[in-house]
């Protein structure tokens, strides 16, 4: 089994790259792989709990919580979050906030890195 690290920089509603990332993570974990996820840039929009699940908008909080429950490690960029007014008390349970060095460190042992660095 492999270790896959996904880095995402896309907004919650928009390009659907975040939807893609959570679905890919789900498929990888279903095959027994270990998955780490790093959210930076506009992807830190996941670091605000209590997102309403309207049908008109991408909604990933539920899927994310499931994957965390199954052992996915997920960390968001702390500075990117604070710049958007997201504080510690906003963080969904099981998500970590850290500096970019968390992500850099993950690249050492991970077998594959999928870095989604565009919107």
């Amino acid at each position: 089994m492999a270790e896959l690290t996904i880095g995402v920089f896309s907004s919650l509603v928009g390009s659907m790259s975040l939807d893609f990332s959570f679905r890919l993570a789900d498929a990888a974990m279903a095959k027994g792989h270990k998955v780490n996820m790093w959210l930076s840039g506009n992807a830190v929009m996941m670091a605000k709990k209590g997102q309403k699940a309207f049908k008109d908008y991408s909604h990933n909080e539920k899927k994310m919580m499931e994957l965390i429950g199954k052992g996915m490690e997920i960390t968001v960029c702390e500075a990117c979050a604070e710049a958007r007014g997201y504080h510690k008390e906003d963080v969904p349970q099981g998500m970590k906030r850290a500096s970019m060095d968390w992500y850099l460190a993950k690249t050492v042992k991970t077998d594959r890195l999928l870095h989604i660095g565009g919107e």
Binding site: D101, L104, T107, V108, T110, H115
Partner: protein, 138 residues
């Protein structure tokens, strides 16, 4: 115990997206990532500007004066100050009409850096893409 090499490849112009700047701040974080790693492990980054990404490296950016935001230029200098290699693709500079003296090449105003910007061909970048462990496109 491993030194893992990473290539940060910026292909798009600055300011339309936060991401070119995040490429630089992420590369810089290699300096402090040891706290999360096993003893002896390290990450060794190189930042490359290709395609329209070379516009990130144009000198004299006044983003702080105009919008109160750190310029991409300052972040490039920050990388040079801490020995993070900065490469700019020569063919793309030529295509966009940019001369070497228009490009951020050192950090003298910040007290000087050990290293300066390298002007490279795409063939050099291709070789680097082949030899690193992971690719990070922005």
């Amino acid at each position: 115990m491993a030194a893992v090499r990473l290539l940060f490849i910026v292909q798009r112009p600055p300011y339309k997206s936060e991401n070119p700047r995040l490429a630089l701040t992420h590369a810089l974080a290699s300096q402090t990532a040891e706290i999360y790693m096993d003893d002896g492990d390290s990450v060794v980054p190189t930042v490359v500007f290709v395609g329209d990404g070379v516009l990130n490296a144009v000198k004299s950016q006044q983003a702080m004066k105009t919008y109160g935001v750190t310029s991409t230029e300052s972040h490039i200098k920050g990388c040079l100050m801490t020995d993070v290699p900065i490469w700019v693709c020569k063919e793309d500079m030529e295509r966009l009409g940019l001369k070497e003296d228009q490009i951020v090449s050192d950090a003298e105003d910040m007290g000087g850096a050990e290293i300066s910007t390298k002007f490279v061909s795409f063939a050099d970048i291709q070789k680097e893409m082949e030899s690193v462990k992971h690719l990070l496109f922005f």
